[in-house]
Structures are given as C-alpha cells and as structure tokens.
Subunit: 561 residues, 2 copies
Amino acid sequence: MSLQPSTTTSWQEQVADKRKRLQTLIPPEWTIAPVPDEQVNVLDVPQTCGLLTDRELEITDTPDVTVLLQKLAKAEWSAVEVTTAFSKRAIIAHQVVNCLTEIFIDRALQRAAELDAYLKEHGTVMGPLHGLPVSLKDQFPIKGLETTMGYAAWIGKVAEDDAVLVQLLLRAGAVLFVRTNVPQTLMWGETYNNVFGRTLNPYNRTLTPGGSSGGESALISMHGSPLGVGSDIGGSIRVPSHFCGLYGFKPSSHRMPSYGIVNSLDGQDSIPTAIGPLTVSLSGVIAFVRGILNLEPWRYCPATIPKPWSQDDYSLRNRNGGKNLCFGIMWDEGSVKPHPPILRALTETKNALEAAGHKVIEWKSLRHSEYIAVARSIWLSDGSEDYNSCLTTGEPLINSMVPDADPNDIPAFRIPRQPLTAYQLWQLNKEKKALRKAHLDRWEATAAETGTGRPIDALICPVAPYAAVPHGQTRSSIYTVIWNTLDCPGLVVPVTKVDPAVDTKPVREVFWSEEDRVVYDMYDPEIYKGVPVGVQIVGPTLQEEVVLGVGEVVDAALRSA
Amino acid sequence: MSLQPSTTTSWQEQVADKRKRLQTLIPPEWTIAPVPDEQVNVLDVPQTCGLLTDRELEITDTPDVTVLLQKLAKAEWSAVEVTTAFSKRAIIAHQVVNCLTEIFIDRALQRAAELDAYLKEHGTVMGPLHGLPVSLKDQFPIKGLETTMGYAAWIGKVAEDDAVLVQLLLRAGAVLFVRTNVPQTLMWGETYNNVFGRTLNPYNRTLTPGGSSGGESALISMHGSPLGVGSDIGGSIRVPSHFCGLYGFKPSSHRMPSYGIVNSLDGQDSIPTAIGPLTVSLSGVIAFVRGILNLEPWRYCPATIPKPWSQDDYSLRNRNGGKNLCFGIMWDEGSVKPHPPILRALTETKNALEAAGHKVIEWKSLRHSEYIAVARSIWLSDGSEDYNSCLTTGEPLINSMVPDADPNDIPAFRIPRQPLTAYQLWQLNKEKKALRKAHLDRWEATAAETGTGRPIDALICPVAPYAAVPHGQTRSSIYTVIWNTLDCPGLVVPVTKVDPAVDTKPVREVFWSEEDRVVYDMYDPEIYKGVPVGVQIVGPTLQEEVVLGVGEVVDAALRSA
C-alpha cells in the first residue's frame, strides 16, 4: 500500500472529504426519494422506489445464486444487465441503510462488458462465477482503490496490488462492484466507525445488521448483492448473516486465501481470521467455496492449506450419502440462555431433521467458557497496540456502539488489558491446544451414542443468544467465538422470524450468570418482531465440504417441514 | 505428567541416580568388552563384539524396512526375535556412542509376543508397522515411563498418558523399545545434556551425530533401530540424518500428530516443530508417513490437518508419472559456501538426475538470510524464559557444545535476547508471512523455465554446509532453518562419503561473510574422512506425498548412477 498523505488536514476534514468523494460516485439518476426515519423496515424500498425495471427486479430477486449463474452462462441475462441491476439496487440500499464504503460501478460495468464479449467469442464462461456481482467487505484491497477499513488514518491508502482472493474472484469470472462497511477495529458484532458512520438493519433500522461484516449483511439482505465476502474472527460473518436472514459460512481459518487483505490484529495467528461468503442461498456458499478451491489458492496464498475440494466429502459419501445422519444439538453454552425465538429455531430444526429420518442427540456443554476466555486473552494480548497504531490522526477509539454513547462507558469485553509478553502468549497457545484436544475427544466420543458408527455428523447450535438487537446492545459473541477458538467451520442457515405471538417472554427468576440476566432483560418480543433467526451448523476442523453437504440436508429438511 | 519430587537432593545427585537406574536396565549378559577410545569408527562393533547371532545380524542388517515388514508379516521372522535382535544391537550401540535415555525392552518383548500371538490367531497383521521396532526421541511420553528430555528438573516425571503418536504407532503394530538422547533445550545441531552426557557419531566418535535427534541418528546408523521418530524445528531430523548417512524426513509442521509430546518453546506456534522419521531406507520413511496418515491422526491430535495420504500425489500422477521431471538446484544460500564434499554430492545428484532424463535448473538465492533472521527472532522472543523454567534445580544452561567449554563462551546464534511483547511477535509473524509469499511466488515463477508446464517438481540443496563436524563445532543450521521458516517438507537422502582424495580443500581468499570464512576454515579433508554426505529434497508446503514420490526418483537415479 502506498499512503497518499493528507498532511495538515484534521481527521474530521479528511472524513468529510472521503464521504463527499463517496457521494459523488452515486449517479444522480440513481438517487431515490428520501425514506422517512419512521419507516424502520426498508426491505421493500427497491420495489417501491421506482428505480428498478421489472427485469432488474426479477434479476435481483432471484433467490438462488446457481440460477443466476446458469442464466448468465446461457447469456439469458448479460453480465452487463446483471451488474447494472445489482449496482442500482446496491445504491438504493446504501441510501437507506448506509452500507457502502467504496463504489466502483464504472470498473464493474467495463468488466461485465468484457465478460459478455468473452462468452460471445468463446461460447463458454470465463470461470465458475462468470458474471456474478460480488461485494467485498472493506478488507480486500483492489489495485488502484482506497481501503480504509473504517480508519481515518487509512483514507488515501491506495492499493498497489489486488488481494489474492480478489485475483481469484476475477479469474473465476466474478464482477466486483462495491465494498462494504465495518466497525472500527473490526472486533465488534455491529457496524459503526468514524469514517462512514453506522450501518442499519433493513428489517428494522433501529436494529444493527450485526458485524463486523455488517455492511455486507445489510446490502445482501436488500438483494443489493447476491453474494459478498466477509471475514470472521469471532462471529463476523455468522452474526450478521443471522441478524439479516442470510446464509453465511465461516470456514476453518486456513482454507480460503487471506494473503493481501488488511486486517485488525494482523500477525495474530493464534486464533486468526477466516474468510468466507454471505449470500442469499446455500448454493451461493457452495459455488464460492468450490469455485475458489478449484483455483488452487495455495499456489498464491502461503497461508492456505493445499486441500482440494472433495466432492466425496461434500456428497457425504462416507456418511451414508446423507441419509439417517446423527446430529448433536447444543441448546445453550451453559452461561447465557438464548431468547425464545432462538430456542424455537433450534426446536424447529430438530423436528425437521427427525421428520426427515435423522437422529438428534444432546451435546452437553463442557468447557465453553474457557474457549471464550482464552480467545479474549489472545486478542487483547497486545494491550491495544494494534488499534492505537491505526489512530494516529487523533481519531478517537470507539468504546461503545451505543448511539451518542458516553465515550468512557466501555463494555466489559472491550476493556483494554495490559500487554503480554511473547512467552505469556505462548502459554495461551498451550491452553488453546489443550482445549482443542478436549473438544476433539468429546466429539469423537459421541460415536458411542450416534448409532451410525461415526461421531455426530454435525452440531446444531445458536448463532447468538438473540436476533438482531438495537444499536449498541450486542454483547460478547460467545456462541460464535467458541468455534473460532476451536477452528471449526460454521454455517449459518436461516430458519424463521421472530413472532411475538409465539415467542413470548418466559418468567425466569434464577439466572446462570450476570450476563444471563442482562441478556434475559434485553428480550421484549415487540423489539425483535419480524427479524430473522438462523441456526449454526458446526463440523470438524477443515472439513468444510462435510459441513456444506450436511448443510444441504438441514436446509432441505427445514424447507420441506 | 505427575512429578515425583526428588525434594532435597542436588541436581547432580538426581542425575547420578537417573544414570544408575538407566544402567541397571542393561541386561548384564548384553554388556560388551570396552572399546578403546582410539577406535573412532565403531560401526563394526555389532559384528565384532560377538553378542549377536548370525540370524540377529541378518535381521538387523536388513537394509530395507519394507523387507523387514514383509518378513514379519509372513512370520518368517517373529516379532520377538526381531525385537530381541534390535534391542541387543541398541544396547551395544549405547555402550559405544551413548545414545539411549530410556530402555524398556521388557515391555517391548511382551508387546512383541502379543503381536506374534495376534498374527498366529488372526492370520493377519495388527497394522502396517506390525512387529517393527521403533525408537523414539526423548520427547514422546509413554504412560508409566519418565520423560526427561535432558533436563535434570524433569527426572522423575512419569507420563500419565501416551503421546498421540505413541498411541498410533501401537495401533499400527509397532514395537517401542528405547528412547534416545537430545541436547539440552533441543535447540542445537548436536546432542549433549547434563543428564545423559554426549552422544557420539558411530562413523567417528570425535564427531557429533548431529542434533537435536542425535540419539536417534547414532542409534539407527548402527542399526540399533530400523526406524526412529524425531522432531525438527530448525534441522533436528535432517542434520542428524545427514551426519549419520540416513534417510530423514521433516514433514510440514501440522501433518504428523504432535499432541502430547514434550517440547522446548512449547506454545510457540509461529515456526513450530515438525515430527518425522529417521531410518535406514526410503521405504521406511514412506511406510511411516503413510501408516500414520492412514490412521487419521487428526481424529486424535487437534493440530494435525485432516489431509489423507494421497496415492495420486505420491505416484506423481500429475507429474508425468515421475518421468522427465524438472528440479531446481540450490548450490548455496548465498552467505556460506558449502564444503567440497557437499558440493560434490549436489553435482553427483544433478548428474544422476540428468542421466535419468530429468532436467535440473538453477535456483537463485533470494532472501534466505531473512528466513533465518525471522526464525531466530521468533524462537528467542521469550528472552529464554522457557529454558529458564526448566532449570529450576540449579542445573546450568549449556552455552556451548564444545567439550570442556568455557561456560561464558556463547556462539553468536545462541546469545539470549531481550524478551519481546506479544505485539512484537505479531509483527514477526507478518514478516514471516511476507517471506512465505515471496518464496511461493518465486517457486511458481519457475514454471517459465521448467519446460514441463509446472513449477519445479522439487528443489535439491545442501542439508548443511559441512558433513559431521567435531563436537562443539556446529554452527547455525541455515540450510535447514530456511525450510522451517517456509514450512516446506524436506527429505534427506544419503549420497556419498567424504573422500579426501577428491574432496580437496580449495584456495579461497574472498569470502561472502565472516561466517563463510569460519566455515571455510573448518574444512580439512582428513577430519571428515569417510563420513556420510546427504542432500536435501524440498517441496511445497503440505505436499509430503510429492516429496516422497520425487524422493524415490532421486534415490533411484543415485543408486543406478
């Protein structure tokens, strides 16, 4: 990256300039009439604003990424018209939920035209994602464009190279067109920073779309993009997918190519970031993972494990072809009881699986709190030196996601710690290793209960103890962090929506912890009315194909229930 | 581990007691007549001492592990007689080169008898290593036995569990019978500690067998074990294999199961230890790696990548079946020129490969010194806190491997450093990542020169700039550390022996570095006369099967040259 220094201007001036430049990238003819603040649900704005043609609505409302890819491959829809449709819808979404950080539709349309010409000339697609518009979280540098990642100090940082994933997406035939908002430091389950401000949940703008890939989840749930790429160190793909009714997948940390991304806590390799998709359909998750693996990312990213896509694993060949599987179910992690709609989503999933001939057994909570504690100790081991190194402009560190928060009011899980030594970090790595062994042994031991001769084929659990919460109300992402500590792949599948008529608030007087009480007090069915609820499907480390294959089994069971 | 405290006795007394207990495990009837110190080459002692029967000599002299396994599987040789033969020969070796730390032949013979009974009853072997005696570096705990790893403070530490690799070796049918010596701290290319003293090179006892798996290399080169398991963080399998004329293999760091081992710098995961075999034949390397992978070690060790053995990769299916390959050759790493016999071994390998129809192109040195620098900074980042935590008895830290060294005379690469913070360690991880990317791009770029349409199939390079050196003379293991920093698998294949008639000392007046001059000055053909010389075959990260398949091509070319 080369820094084009902004020298003497204040960070506020730099931010104002950046916002202005972003604004100028919105074609004036794509500006919509203002939507009043009182309209909290903005999902129908693309239909009602009058900007999209019927055909553009048909394209962008296509619920299955595979169908999009097929129509593109057959030239039923050209890449230019698909790119135009999603670009317009992305711009519409941005005007109501503030989800974009970089807009480069001109490049995208030029690229789409090249793809159309390629298809016409060769009679075949350029790659498995030919013509598919793909949005990117603001961590994936593209040559010639800025990547600010929500830091004022990074305004003007123009990338000299594409991130490896960007190179591979282009080789796969994707059309990149926008990048999306993140929280400052990335280490939050919401999306707010001093440069671009706050991203809102299209289901209810008083709620957060989650984070840190919250620009993506807001955008995709409005069908402003069919598929986006996020990153997840503690839930940053899965929480926003759950909050916005999407499919989201966090692979194991070294399966997808990370080289060349910008990141928080860069060089922290103990519990690292994983890259994965958020999208409108499970077919999109599979197209992305298979498409990238088939391009042999380990030849370009030194941190990617050379493990080719396994069609056998994906088709559950050694798991009875996906018939009569056995699932574990974890209703809670033992310290914070999920809200009623979360438990209902688990129950519906369990019932659907049993109705489809599968077995579901209880997963007993064991050492989950230790998984959280070790992750937090590792991530905070630099004593915030990484964050501070990005705040050189005088821009303040954001301590709370509450709108107009008292800057000194810091949630417990964000309180800075004293820096550790390298030796102390090594001791944490040893703890992590012992915890991973305990989990692995526990998983293998389920073979005695499954009746299949195998351990459980996957574990079903909450993504969070709540659905999308009001801005500033997210807590530590315990249900997702567990699987980062253990480096297990986790897939989010949407199940239902909060229904105040059935998801009534139970009376509880005994609590498992202070956190349990706080989370209980947050629940009011009217606040969460109508927002989506997903479940998380977890598998063994680096068995991405198994999780996706099992995910299709779960999804099919839910859709036919 | 439970510590059986030795309370008030001094460390010297504890060491004396440990040595005495070790001595009592040698059956008196297996004691041989003393070999005079003047006899520096002791390779023929097993033949001349009169202790082994002709059949025991035939068994232990078997040059190919596959042949041993076949004869065991057919019950031509019983597990008990094979175990007896290698046990006797190990005890003989120990008496002349001091290679053992734990002796448990009673257990081994009982186990061998069980294996014989199993084969008789079932008509089939228990596993792929049925009846094979396997020795272990003193890092692999076995339930009920001590593991001291050369630290006085660890005397009396009795393991409560088998390391995962021990469990899998037993499941594979192996017979474990001895553990072998290491240097204090493990971070040396020689083998000497305060508990067990110094291990000697059977080719010439005035020379080191290398380290840190030097007990293994000394033992196996005397055929006191057909196959042993070592570990390698900077050359600790490859240097001793090279110094003792063995095949030795360092896989990538997360391919073989490490859970449950004891280690130096435990929790240091930036450039971690890799586990692998040292053995008398390439077939032994392959039997070990394939045998362990086929037992799915990732189900028991959370640090092991679930990547099954690939027969396609091993058979070089996508590499023209092993015909007309293209190799890179690295004559030196740019700062230290190897001694004449090392360069001759490379030349002979190149000639043999070309004679067999392969192409060999030059690998240009680029950033090798940086690979070494970052590794050293990472390993020393704890400011020696890990070492010091093991020296609680008052036992001194060994600063030099020179016999009767001045304890204050510390080689440059061992000088302790100030401890780093976790944040500083993260910065080193970033450096490492950038270096791995530079290497990967360099490797891929060779595709333009190979003529095969692929990058080079493997790289041939020195294992060290010298053959086995006099005790105390090893330097930093630059030629091996490179591949630990890059996490590339490296296979050592023996090529030749030092011949003073051809390996004459060249005149050099210009040196690449001070280290280059020091290493040049070390060379005197008479010192190294007759000791073995190997080469190193390096491949891409986690492509162990490719390196082994290519290794067979190289080995066959050398044997038929």
